[in-house]
Amino acid sequence: MEKVLGQSLTSATPHSRRSSSFITPHLDWVTVLLYFLLVALGWMNIYAAVYSPDNVINIFSMDINSGKQLAWIGASFLLIIVLLVVDHKVYEHLAYPIYGFIILLLLVTLVVAKPIAGSRSWLDLGGGIRLQPAELAKFATALAASRFLGSVNLRQQNFKDQMILAAITFVPPIIIVLQNETGSALVFAAFILAYFREGMSPLILIIGGSAAAIFILTLLVPKLYLIAAVTILMALATWMDYRLLRRFKVMIGLWIVVVGMIFSVDFFVNDVLQPHQQNRIKALINPEADPLGYGWNVTQSKIAIGSGGFWGKGFLEGTQTKFDFVPEQSTDFIFCTIGEEHGWVGSTVLIGIFLLLLIRIVGIAERQKSVFARTYGYCVASIIFFHFLVNVGMTIGLAPVVGIPLPFFSYGGSSLWSFTILLFILLAIDANRAKDLAR
């Protein structure tokens, strides 16, 4: 009897497959799992960062960051449900209105915001709730740029279209720079990676990367050595590839540009950057020059991570990260806690989790049928990657100190929510991709 019933059930299944819009079965659970893993690990490390053996407070206490973060994590789950329930087409259809609204919000913030630590980026919603529209600008720009690249009558070689895309990408960061949030503005450079996938010339990527490399190298290496190295490298390249020899004048021109850049770095650092930005550059070059001043964060961060050794000191056993003297202990410098308490093994595992997530997102992006969805997927990966690159880089002295959080990991509601929105819009679109028509 039972067997018959079982058979009949099995055979009935294909016919009774639900055609409802419930998307859970199509959700990319690997990404969801990685998300939960990062959020949970982040929460524990936030507790470790604020933990003081002199005054042990429960991890759930709302008086400390870990308790508050838990509330924000809970709210994120609600957010996720909303994002998954809402019709996924909304994101494409409303991409421009959302973008326009965020631009407006950025401008309003610029006008009405009271400066907090020099930054005019926080919108006071009253009742102690503050919003940073710059965080929301990331996903809004990603949506708008993807929508634009996905539009049917787009001509990539058309100069006008290129200019529109550039405007979509760079208007928000310009406003954000005016709000004095240079760190958040830099994130928009990440879009280049997504555009590269959609057909942008690799030259831009190469030039951009080379410029950044030359800039940082100029700071770290004496100018004469650098110029000698550039000269030798270019000469070698010209000698090895006859095609370059034919473009000798171009090579000479390029050499002049590079050498000019090297000499203009000083001018840029000393006369263009603001004093606090100069300090961050100096901290990158030689944090030990003023270990109690501008070098403080970097020195302390490296000492904390370095003292972790291979296996780390163990959960809550860190001694360097236990004082609240580095103000961003649980936000921007959360990676120090991992480094100190979980050592090289823990740090590498975390880097591995991020790489898995990033590669997974690229995979998701590639399986989308619409240009909009694919571009958006690459934007998500690029933004997360840029945060990861700069945030971890600055804690280990490979990047200047830029106040941007580690995605899903750092303490803070605005940041957690904005990354959650960013990621789960992609997952919602992905879960419904079967219904989308290919363009």
């Binding site: 053996p53 003292s307 001694t319 991020f354 690229v362 990861f388 690159l389």
Partner: protein, 609 residues
């Protein structure tokens, strides 16, 4: 567009390269380069707690009740202990070797990295000796803090004491901010006013190297905070009066509570047997505490607020008369015969009016007055009528502060007992009890329990002709000297002011020519109004009670004296009250014969009834 799809490998490649570069860089920082580990060790920041001065407590005249004295604790941080010579350590602190090992084990089990007290409350000599040798014991250091000190031996029960915070308290979130080894108020004023007295700890951050040698202050003290001393308290206690009260009660058991009626301020608070608060400050605190806790006289029992099982006896007749007057069932001129068949009495003129009944404490008079009060004929059924009467009576009794916590600022106050219909319904069944069941209440016996504090407070009500202010022992907190807000409200008894005069007149007669003559202060021109009482005690000699206030007009002191096994209120309690009143009002004692009588304890030899 196929070639564009291949760009995903470039992008994933960039991700991978960055990840690998990070992993290599981390490997270099964390594993290869050991300089960061050394830096971390030389980089340790030590937080040094700056203990605040606990607030001082003064009496109403500005005499110091509680002060701070320096003590030294030997602390240990197990993590920092290196090459420990346990034997030498044992010699240093003069403790048996096993004890030293046990203490170390305890410290380690508490925390490996946090300091915990190894040996507390070193004497000054021990401190000097140990300090000189400490250099050989890394991980050990001396922590100076202050302990409580008392320039007198009085008021132990009210002051309470401080002691190390218990592990259980540490787990409780309301004690957040306290650390192991901190001292916290455990009883009395020290507990009640902990949040004012404790002050605020300060922290100094010092950079130290591996050997714990200070390398200067951290970031030039930018994060240091100064300790903020606790707030001082001004008590309402008159230390001279308090000491005198304890002198009079020395060797006896019982309570004295004296209150200034107009303000509710407690002038004296004696719980006998009493103890010297200094017993709880030294190294022998634990031993002394256990000894007191276990002693057969129940020294630690805070009698004025906790002894609530004893009936008030005849002093309650005043309450009964006041309520009966208010209800209009008697007038000052109502006379009843001393009918000993109703309830036993002693020899006195009969019949009596209200004044005489108060003066002579006539039991049958109050039996009849209370019957008139309870059975007012509001129901034809005598059972129901009694229940109605008792219920209404009880409400008025409560308005005098009986049967509830008055709200004194000493923790542990008991409510006392006032007979209720519920109680009798439970014992006898509904409608199964009537006046003949409950008549003992008329003379203050039966289902009544009153604390000495409630008795003194009752005297405040009478002295004020109708109201009391919550009795309290702290007048003000901090330097502004303003009285505490919560102790300014008048609580009115449900009896009109004019009904108090006949009662007070009767009380005056009690002291002039009745049972309270030993409290008589006529020769120094003070008119004392009082009432004696005897609380029946099935376990031994009866307890003696005397309540009084003085002067009759514009009263300055209301007092309740309770002498356990004192047999007769007039013999044992009344003279104590008289002496206290004279001491307080005139600062001298002229009725020396009463003082001698009290101290001789001869009243114990009087034959009991």
């Amino acid at each position: 567009m196929k070639y564009l799809e291949n760009r995903k490998y470039v992008i994933q490649g960039i991700f991978l390269v960055v990840g690998i570069v990070f992993a290599i860089r981390l490997f270099y920082i964390q594993v290869v380069d050991s300089s960061y580990k050394q830096a971390a060790e030389t980089n340790a920041i030590k937080s040094i707690i700056q203990y605040p001065f606990r607030g001082l407590i003064y009496d109403r005249e500005g005499k110091l009740l509680v002060q701070n004295t320096p003590v030294y604790d030997l602390m240990v941080v197990p993590k920092d202990v290196k090459d420990l010579d346990t034997l030498r350590l044992a010699e240093l602190v003069k403790l048996p070797l096993e004890d030293v090992r046990a203490r170390l084990k305890k410290a380690r089990s508490f925390s490996y990295v946090q300091p915990s007290p190894f040996y507390q409350k070193l004497s000054t000599q021990e401190f000097a000796y140990i300090q000189n040798n400490l250099i050989d014991f890394p991980g050990f250091y001396i922590n100076a803090r202050t302990a409580r000190g008392y320039p007198h031996q009085s008021l132990g029960h009210a002051l309470g004491y401080i002691a190390e915070i218990s592990p259980k308290q540490l787990e409780d979130s309301i004690y957040r901010g306290y650390r192991p080894g901190d001292y916290i108020g455990k009883a009395g004023i020290e507990l009640e006013y902990e949040k004012y007295l404790m002050g605020q700890r300060g922290v100094k951050y010092k950079m130290v190297n591996v050997r714990g040698v200070e390398k200067g202050s951290f970031r030039e003290g930018a994060f240091d905070t100064l300790a903020v001393a606790g707030e001082n308290l001004i008590s309402t206690i008159d230390l001279d009066l308090q000491a005198y009260g304890e002198h009079l009660m020395n060797g006896a058991k019982g309570s004295i509570v004296a209150i200034e009626p107009s303000t509710g301020e407690i002038l004296a608070y004696v719980s006998a047997p009493f103890y010297d608060p200094n017993l709880f400050t030294g190294k022998d605190y634990g031993k002394n505490y256990m000894a007191l806790l276990q002693d057969s006289n129940k020294t630690m029992f805070n009698r004025p607020i906790m002894a609530d099982q004893n009936p008030p006896g005849s002093i309650f007749k005043l309450t009964q008369a006041l309520i009966a007057l208010e209800e209009g069932v008697i007038s000052p001129n109502t006379t009843f015969a001393c009918n000993k068949s109703l309830v036993n009495c002693h020899q006195h003129p009969s019949p009596l009016n209200l004044y005489g009944a108060v003066q002579h404490s006539c039991n049958p008079w109050f039996y009849q007055a209370y019957k008139a009060l309870i059975n007012q004929g509001k129901s034809a059924n005598t059972f129901t009528d009694t229940a109605i009467g008792l219920k209404e009576w009880r409400e008025k009794v409560l308005s005098f502060g009986f049967g509830q916590q008055l709200g004194i600022d000493i923790p542990g106050e008991k409510k006392g007992i006032v007979a209720s219909t519920d109680l009798y319904d439970r014992v006898y069944g509904k409608n199964r009890w009537k006046y003949s069941t409950i008549y003992s209440l008329s003379i203050g016996q039966g289902e009544l329990g009153v604390t000495p504090l409630q008795m003194a407070n009752f005297m405040s009500v009478v002295a004020n002709r109708g109201y009391y202010i919550t009795p309290h022992i702290i007048r003000s907190v901090g330097n502004d000297g303003k009285p505490l807000k919560e102790y300014q409200e008048k609580h009115y008894a449900a009896v009109s002011p004019q009904h108090f005069e006949p009662i007070i007149a009767g009380m005056s007669e009690v002291v002039r020519a009745g049972t309270g003559r030993r409290a008589n202060l006529q020769k120094v021109g003070i008119e004392v109004c009082g009432k004696t009482g005897t609380a029946q005690n099935p376990q031994g000699p009866d307890h003696a009670v005397f309540v009084a206030f003085a002067p009759k007009d514009n009263p300055k002191i209301a007092i309740a004296v309770y002498v356990e096994h004192g047999k007769w209120g007039g013999q044992s309690a009344a003279p104590i009250a008289g002496l206290m009143i004279e001491q307080y009002l005139t600062d001298t004692v002229t009725i020396k014969e009463q003082e001698k009588w009290v101290l001789s304890r001869e009243y114990l030899n009087i034959k009991s009834k």
